[in-house]
Symmetry: C2
Subunit: 452 residues, 2 copies
């Protein structure tokens, strides 16, 4: 019997999150306020508890995971590391392929790793309500689950077109006790002003963020939670890579290349950052962020200070960006439709510490089907981006007869994304290329701030 899964005992759930900043050759650039001056922690206090703000700016290498958070992690962690024997055979590649499967969480993706931590620290700070936005609903589900575990009411502003067309993640949020509102809603000034202009507005992630932030900022008992981009979010996800390191060590293997989808960066950071610690210590490992050609933030964007949201309400972060007013095409990997990227991931790419590649939509679904037919699990559309890049590399290894060890993060299952597979089989998916003229336009529209 050849081993397929590498499991860890619950007692091996990491005890600390790893802070990648501690291994940076250069310190991160500070976030800026609307006046172009660096902002302090107090600027974030209306939205986040101080414990998370401290993590956001921390340079400490290890941050202890509270016992209460690890107890919730026990529901699904440690997640299994799989050797993809059948995929290797289907490809005829000499490469070894491994994947970490985060779809085992109750919400079906890696997102609860940070949702649980955020709910915990808010609870500790006396917060009784959390607001957030969600598109297709992966993040909203994760926060609903986390809020339920700590007795925090969760209020989710769900983009109206998804609220209407994708009802089942909405149902799941309600099953976990969250209140879900179609955004734009009548509950906020932001929502009401949009509805006044256009009562039939389909909504957008940008609008939903504005509604969630407005509610959180205007109530003392209410905070806001974000599912990616911010430093503390990526920090919480490092349990993925740390477990993988132990799992590889237990079988005497080590990856040559690591792949993860990259939208806001929490998926990529979660799996890649702990291995970057090895790389910083001299280990030879390549870290590859995979993004859609329709929203090629790292590979085609500008490295500049920009807003995190569409309306320009957030602090400015130094990041790769396609411009905060860029609306990515409606690809099915909703989690990768983000104009910007994590400041940490952006800096690492800028400094040549990591790599990035962009892949087109149809090819990602082709890869996902190949994976499902060999490994069984039907992947989320976001995860299909990593699978595409891994298969491409495995086929290169076949050409060159290289026995590389490839590793990727299978960040979630596709149980709530089957309509997109239907479109793939029906030949109805479209590949979008980022238009050349957008590059100039984005540069022109960036906020006017000198890059440090």
């Amino acid at each position: 019997m050849i081993q397929t899964k590498v499991l860890l005992d619950e007692s091996e759930i990491p005890t600390h999150w790893y802070n990648v900043v501690s291994d940076f050759p250069n310190p991160p650039a500070p976030p800026l306020g609307p006046d172009g001056q660096p902002i302090g922690p107090e600027a974030l206090a209306p939205l986040f508890p101080m414990a998370l703000i401290e993590q956001e700016v921390s340079a400490e290498r290890w941050i202890e995971i509270p016992e209460e958070v690890r107890e919730i992690y026990q529901m699904w962690r440690p997640s299994p590391l799989y050797r993809a024997h059948r995929l290797e055979k289907a490809l005829g590649t000499p490469a070894k392929i491994f994947y970490k499967y985060e779809g085992v969480s109750p919400a079906g993706s890696h997102k609860p790793n940070t949702a649980v931590a955020q709910a915990y620290y808010n609870k500790q700070a006396g917060i009784t309500k959390l607001t957030t936005e969600t598109g297709a609903g992966q993040w909203g589900c994760s926060l609903a689950l986390a809020g339920q575990m700590f007795g925090i009411d969760v209020r989710v502003f769900m983009v109206k077109v998804s609220y209407d067309q994708k009802p089942f993640r909405r149902s799941m949020m309600r099953t976990w006790g969250a209140d879900v509102f179609a955004s734009p809603s009548n509950l906020t000034n932001a929502g009401r002003s949009i509805l006044a202009d256009d009562p039939d507005s389909p909504g957008s992630l940008g609008i939903a963020i504005s509604e969630a932030v407005e509610e959180a900022a205007s109530r003392d008992d209410t905070n806001y939670a974000l599912g990616s981009v911010l430093n503390h979010v990526l920090l919480h996800q490092t349990v993925i890579g740390q477990e993988a390191q132990k799992q590889f060590a237990s079988i005497g293997e080590y990856p040559d290349m690591i792949f993860a989808p990259c939208g806001g960066g929490s998926n990529f950071g979660g799996v890649a950052f702990p291995f970057f610690a090895d790389k910083a210590a001299g280990k030879d490992v390549r870290l590859v962020a995979v993004e859609p050609t329709s929203c090629p933030t790292l590979t085609r964007g500008h490295y500049a200070y920009d807003f995190g949201d569409t309306l320009g309400m957030t602090p400015l972060l130094l990041q790769y960006t396609l411009g905060h007013d860029f609306i990515p095409p409606s690809i099915h990997a909703g989690g990768l439709r983000y104009h910007g990227d994590s400041a940490l991931v952006s800096q690492m790419y800028k400094e040549g510490l990591i790599e990035a590649v962009a892949v087109p939509q149809i090819a990602t679904f082709e890869a996902g089907v190949t994976f499902a037919r060999s490994e069984g699990i039907v992947p989320a559309p976001e995860s299909n981006h990593a699978i595409r890049a891994v298969i491409d590399e495995a086929l290169r290894c076949k050409e060159s007869a290289e026995e590389k060890t490839l590793f990727f993060n299978l960040s979630g299952h596709g149980h709530f994304d089957m309509a997109s597979y239907d479109k793939y089989f029906a030949g109805e998916l479209v590949d979008y290329e980022y238009p050349e003229e957008e590059i100039e336009r984005a540069l022109h529209n960036l906020p006017k701030v000198a890059v440090g």
Copy 2:
């Protein structure tokens, strides 16, 4: 850190299936042909490979699991045993509650345990196509996955109303390469004759079975596969209970009562049969089959020879039945809508070796939501039946201050059943009671065969 999950290494996947007949005090009654005479193996040969027919009638205690089947089991087995700490706390019960989670399979339920075995034996027998029927699609998905693993084409006749209304399990079957047809179809005489009478027929499981059986019986390269009821199907599911025995032993616990949903019997048999071996050897353990009040086969049915299908095409099996022409109400636990029950489970109930209880629909969803809000996982509607019975027992333990150890099979997740949770929250679910007059009617319509 208090232990939540009990895991086993892949090397502990059972090597043999356990045949419960070997512990029966009385031998099982034989299946009968249309003439009322016992049938031999040859009567089943047009539909099943000889290896499965031999398992169907075997009295051997242990039947070896082929290496190739165990290799596929490695994709998700051994499945975890959970201690439901949070559910216990939410109920305030002194009872200990454990559950085995079978939703970790790629298809999301326990069904692949037998689908994989059936696909393997058919492949060995040179069969290149398998036909089957499916309602909501859980079984069709499992056979699609299994067929893909062994290079067998799978043709699924899906009840038309589900085909139209529940597209996502259909998408999943296609992702695993199966051909899915709305039944009644134009592909078979059975389908054409129904369509001739009613071009808008919504279909039924009975019609879909007729179509699948007709295709299999009329082609040498094609066999038929069934997801429950038959002895060999329940046999394959005994990996569940065997793993649970090892898991309990590893933590020094043993269940006082075991609960599982019971429709055709494969869910209940899979978890309960291996523990029946302990019971037969003198161990004090109660085995409880949980069925819906709308389809109370064991608790209200007749113990008699009856057909397995609606149209009366199958051999006669001695079983608890509500009459083969009974159409169960459209409850959301589609897997429990079956007029009859496994002959093995039926005999055990008749002889007082196991117990049964019926629970109403709305209360099962209430239990499922309580479970999801404490344990995280959103359960399948079928699984909610077991959860209801376990919660009821845990609350009795609270009254009586008994520290019983309760164990149930969480047979699958509810990711494809969220519409039924929506109906629960909207107050649109209905409780059906089996009408008293049906009992007489069913008795009147039973085939006229003397019970041995």
